[in-house]
């Protein structure tokens, strides 16, 4: 059985979207992936499907994004978490090696499972999806 079947990629950088797609095909990972350009788009989608089975198992979340950034997404995510039909794993994926961001991510330790630095590598993918 696969660890993750449905994945949300939330990042405003379309180059990153392209890289992720390439990594999936290279590692032969067959998952259902949805791409969002900011936190608001992603949380809107989650809210729509909150009580259905049609929600992701994993969210790869960027921090620095327009409209709703990663933190704002997590604030909203906190509020709807209880209503979800299954547990969603959230990984923060950011180019920021800023200590303030790393410390802030600890405030969301109930929501965020791990912090990955960009660029994500093939090894990262293998650990996540193995």
């Amino acid at each position: 059985m696969k660890k993750f079947n449905t994945i949300f990629v939330v990042d405003d950088d379309m180059v990153y979207h392209f890289i992720i797609k390439k990594l999936f095909s290279k590692c032969n990972i067959d998952v259902d992936t949805k791409y969002f350009f900011n936190g608001l788009e992603a949380i809107d989608e989650l809210r729509d499907k909150v009580e259905t089975d049609n929600i992701p198992d994993l969210i790869l979340l960027d921090i620095n994004m327009p409209v709703y950034d990663g933190w704002q997404f997590l604030e909203e995510f906190k509020k709807i978490k209880q209503k979800l039909t299954k547990e969603i794993t959230v990984y923060l994926v950011s180019s920021s090696n800023d200590v303030t961001d790393l410390n802030k991510s600890k405030e969301y330790q109930d929501e965020v499972k791990k912090y990955y630095y960009k660029p994500m590598t093939q090894e990262d993918f293998e650990t996540i999806f193995a």
Partner: protein, 507 residues
């Protein structure tokens, strides 16, 4: 009569003996000095005590009294001694004088002479004198005087004033040094506690009263407080007060507090200067942190993309996927150049040497901007309301003022409300002697509770607008701050946004 006379004579003799004996018995030193019209001195009486007290020898007793006296009286007091004696002689007024005597074993004793003066028919002047040894009193007096002088000197040198507050009457004694701090003198009516309290700066009064109360309640061993006090010239001086209750009544209520005042205005001014410098340093440090943050977020993401894209390119076999990769490399390269340009711009803004201030008329610059944007204004049916004073002029960098008007105006149009025509209003006012520019729109508004923190951040956008790049407000804010100004924002979602620019320049 004769009998009487005999009896009288007898009594007289008895009386003389009696007085003689008495005079010899009493501990005081008594003598009679007679000065003849030709200034000859004669000691016409001495009681025995004097002989023993001054250990007068036979030789001295036979010598000229002036010489003996001169010899005994301390050289520094001799002039005063004889001047006062002469004065009494001439005016027949009581002779009083304090002087030092050098005793046989070279010790110094203080004496006070007290004499009544009369003259007889031969024009002799007669002094009926008592001498009192006042050495003990004098030494104590000197000690007190010395310590007072020392204290006074210490107070003057330290510029400390003294106050003495009687809580029963409410009266306060302020020393000259205390009054000097506020340029007051003893003729200025400030001798009660309430008159002093009236002079304390309203913002400092509570702390001051709290501090005294804590001491009254025995929570502090003494009271200490620094506050601004109104001086006679209308300025405020920073005064440090220290005090201690030195007396309480039987119920434990304080009766008297004594303390000091010091003028710490200079120290306070230095302290404030330091705080100002600290603010500047904190601001610069924040700017550096912010810069590091931008680098961390915006440059690293591009370099990461480069690395990954090159990996993918290496492993791509077909032409199509190679071209796809190259096109993404191009996108990344453009984004990186843009970010670097923005960072360069940011660094330049804070390099004040490059950007000189000039006197600029707000109306002229607003009209220029509206001219540049005339097509957008017409196409979007924007209503412009200009209430800026005709002659309102500021010292600002011309390019920054242009970009300020351009940014706020294009933003207001870009984020206008879909259900109404945009309206932008520009006005100016004076707040606390400084010019303020207000730009108000009726657009989408921003949820400040949610986005307030990042409103002026780099690459932050809040609306689902494709043209949003999130650089305008960030640059504008930095430009305003580099000119010494500040910016405030008020906004309500679906109502509109008001930006207030404080030029922070006295007019």
């Amino acid at each position: 009569m004769k009998t009487n006379s005999i009896i009288n004579d007898f009594f007289l003799v008895e009386k003389v003996n009696f007085f003689e004996q008495m005079l010899n018995q009493i501990p005081d030193l008594i003598f009679q000095l007679t000065i003849s019209p030709n200034d000859e001195f004669n000691i016409t009486y001495l009681n025995k005590n004097i002989l023993s007290y001054f250990e007068l020898n036979k030789f001295e007793l036979k010598s000229n009294p002036i010489d003996v006296i001169s010899n005994k009286v301390h050289p520094e007091d001799r002039d005063a001694f004889f001047t006062s004696l002469n004065y009494s002689k001439q005016n027949l007024e009581p002779w009083r004088c304090e002087f030092r005597i050098i005793t046989k074993n070279k010790k110094i004793s203080w004496f006070k002479v007290d004499a009544n003066v009369t003259s007889d028919i031969d024009k002799n002047t007669i002094f009926f004198s008592t001498l009192t040894d006042i050495t003990d009193i004098k030494e104590r007096e000197i000690k007190v005087q010395e310590s007072e002088t020392r204290y006074q000197f210490a107070l003057e040198a330290s510029k400390k004033g003294i106050w003495d507050y009687n809580l029963t009457t409410g009266n306060v004694f302020f020393s000259k040094e205390s009054l000097d701090i506020l340029y007051l003198d003893e003729f200025d009516d400030i001798n009660t506690n309430s008159k002093w309290d009236e002079r304390i700066h309203p913002n400092d009064l509570k702390d001051y009263l709290d501090s005294i109360q804590s001491h009254k309640d025995r929570k502090t061993p003494y009271f200490e407080n620094t506050k601004r006090v109104l001086a006679k010239d209308g300025s405020y001086k920073w005064v440090l007060s220290r005090g201690k209750i030195i007396e309480r009544d039987e119920n434990g209520n304080p009766v008297r507090i004594i303390g000091t005042h010091s003028d710490v205005t200079h120290n306070k001014e230095k302290e404030n200067e330091l705080l100002d410098h600290l603010d500047i340093i904190i601001e610069q440090n924040n700017r550096l942190l912010n810069f590091a943050h931008i680098v961390s977020h915006n440059l690293r993401s591009h370099t990461g993309n480069f690395k990954m894209l090159l990996n993918i390119l290496d492993e791509s076999n077909d032409k199509e996927s190679k071209e796809e990769c190259l096109s993404y490399l191009k996108t990344t390269s453009n984004a990186l150049s843009e970010t670097i340009d923005h960072l360069k711009e940011l660094v330049d803004i804070h390099n004040t040497i490059i950007h000189k201030k000039e006197d600029l008329n707000l109306n002229v610059y607003l009209n220029q901007t509206l001219e540049v944007l005339s097509k957008e204004i017409k196409d979007n049916k924007v209503k412009i309301v200009n209430k800026i004073g005709e002659k309102d002029t500021i010292k600002f960098n011309p390019a920054y003022l242009e970009s300020l008007f351009l940014n706020f105006t294009t933003n207001a149009i870009k984020y206008s409300h879909p259900e109404r025509h945009p309206e932008i209003s520009y006005s100016s006012s004076v707040e606390k002697g400084k010019l303020v520019l207000v730009i108000e729109d009726n657009g989408l508004g921003i949820n400040l509770a949610k986005h307030g923190e990042k409103l002026f951040g780099m690459y932050k956008t809040f609306h689902k607008n494709e043209n949003a790049r999130g650089i305008g407000l960030f640059i504008t804010k930095n430009q305003i701050e580099s000119m010494g100004g500040s910016i405030e924002v008020e906004s309500k979602v679906n109502v509109g946004t008001t930006f207030k620019i404080n030029f922070n320049e006295e007019i």
